[in-house]
């Protein structure tokens, strides 16, 4: 029993070693591992995730705000969310690879599609949940529709919107792990190409991806907390 326990602890130790020190590839010839490579892959991972999430926000938030303000398309907003959940990320990436080939743009496109539903739905719901009386008061004071959106609905819907961005960002980071299948080398390459990086590399990749996901989650949780207008935060209990 003790042997087994020690065994996997040493596996993790080896993985840590992989992150910090270079070594020869399993397939021979090249040097792999080490901090420089790790940081390169991490940057690639973060880059594609950020771009995809950013574009998704740019599309989903205005649409969500518009639909929410008008009160239309509830069925659409909810259905998009349900269908979006049902589509496996792997299938999505594979679909784009099969039809559009490999490359940064194609993968980004797939990730944008993945990121859209939570942001769209949360923006829509966030706007719908704004107190009707407040909107009424705003209109009564003479605010134009676009001003109502910008000054009342958007700030009050921000916590919900940030919740959606948070969900999407974590999903995108998770899916970016399989981006190497499409030719974009993220941290996932350590996992998918274990024949090159070895078992240590694979475990290291897993650890790094996990840490990155948690970091992203914590980051957006903090953003969500900061996004709540002070007045609202005082009204409602935390969390």
């Amino acid at each position: 029993m003790t042997d087994l326990r020690l065994a996997f602890l040493s596996d993790f130790a080896d993985a840590l070693d992989f992150i910090f020190n270079t070594r020869e590839a399993q397939t021979g010839g090249v040097e792999v591992g080490g901090l420089a490579e790790v940081l390169d892959f991490t940057w690639e991972h973060v880059k594609i995730s950020a771009v995809a999430t950013g574009i998704a926000c740019g599309v989903a938030i205005p649409v969500g705000l518009g639909l929410g303000h008008a009160g239309k398309g509830e069925l659409l907003a909810i259905s998009i969310s349900n269908v979006g959940r049902a589509v496996p990320s792997l299938a999505l990436i594979a679909f784009f690879v099969a039809y559009l080939g490999v490359g940064f743009t194609n993968v980004t496109l797939a990730l944008v599609l993945l990121a859209l539903p939570p942001i769209l739905t949360n923006t829509y719901v966030g706007v719908r949940q704004v107190d009707r009386d407040v909107i009424d008061a705003g209109r009564g004071m003479g605010l134009r529709p676009d001003q109502v959106v910008r000054r009342i609905e958007l700030p009050l819907a921000l916590p919900s919107i940030f919740g959606g961005i948070r969900t999407s960002a974590v999903n995108v980071v998770a899916t970016a792990t399989i981006a190497p299948l499409a030719g974009v080398l993220t941290l996932g390459d350590y996992i998918l190409s274990a024949n090159v990086y070895g078992q240590d590399g694979r475990l290291a990749g897993a650890m790094l991806v996990a840490l990155l996901a948690i970091a992203v989650e914590l980051f957006f949780a903090a953003m969500q907390r900061l996004a709540v207008p002070r007045g609202l935060a005082l009204q409602q209990p935390a969390g």
């Binding site: 065994a7 996997f8 596996d11 993790f12 349900n82 269908v83 959940r85 049902a86 589509v87 496996p88 990320s89 792997l90 299938a91 999505l92 594979a94 679909f95 690879v97 099969a98 039809y99 974590v170 980071v173 998770a174 899916t175 792990t177 399989i178 299948l181 996932g188 996992i191 998918l192 694979r202 475990l203 990749g205 897993a206 650890m207 991806v209 996990a210 996901a213 948690i214 989650e217 969390g239």
Partner: protein, 232 residues
Amino acid sequence: MLAQVEIRERSGESCIARNDFCPGWIVDNFDRYTDPLVEHVFLTVAAVACGFAIAFALAMLARRQRWLVGPIVGITGVLYTLPSLAVFFLLLPITGRGTTTALIALTAYTLQILFRNIVTGLDNVPADARDAGLGMGLTDRQLLWRVELPLALPDIVAGLRIATTTTVGLATLAVFAGAGGLGEQIVTGSNITFKTGVVAAGGLAVLLALALDVVLLTVQRLLTPWRRAQPA
């Protein structure tokens, strides 16, 4: 390479040679998908069932000790955040390759949504119904099973539906843990560039998710006849 030649020989159509989308091929070669589909269904149902059992037990604990809700949501939240692919390989040194590893990861992923929805469902039971129930002489246990859980069903099933659809999606990655599933038809060999195959496997996963969703929704409708009653 060999696999692709094999495919072409089997259907003998030039559609495949062009790597277009060929529905005919899917019909001809459907037996390729039956085993992965069965594995996929098994993985999904088993993971959601285990997840539900654990989440339910946790919810029962948290029902008495309310302070537990925060920490449990937090811990299950971490499990939810970890990408399942990463979890497969983090578990590898401990549980090895295979279905067990995949199941552990998939189950862990469902915990947060299931736990939250069970707790919310129970919290949404009208306070006056609870007061009347206790006042009439129901024991705490009877109150739970005869009043609170039936009334919490819609929220609980909503959680089950979300958990099921996401698990179907994630189970496509189970192939990386060596547990088979529809993902096998997407990732192994050069399948990823095989348009028809990708659409078939992906499409089947989506259909499976929608089918399970409908089943759960129907079950909920059957178990909650009072919600269909029109208000006076």
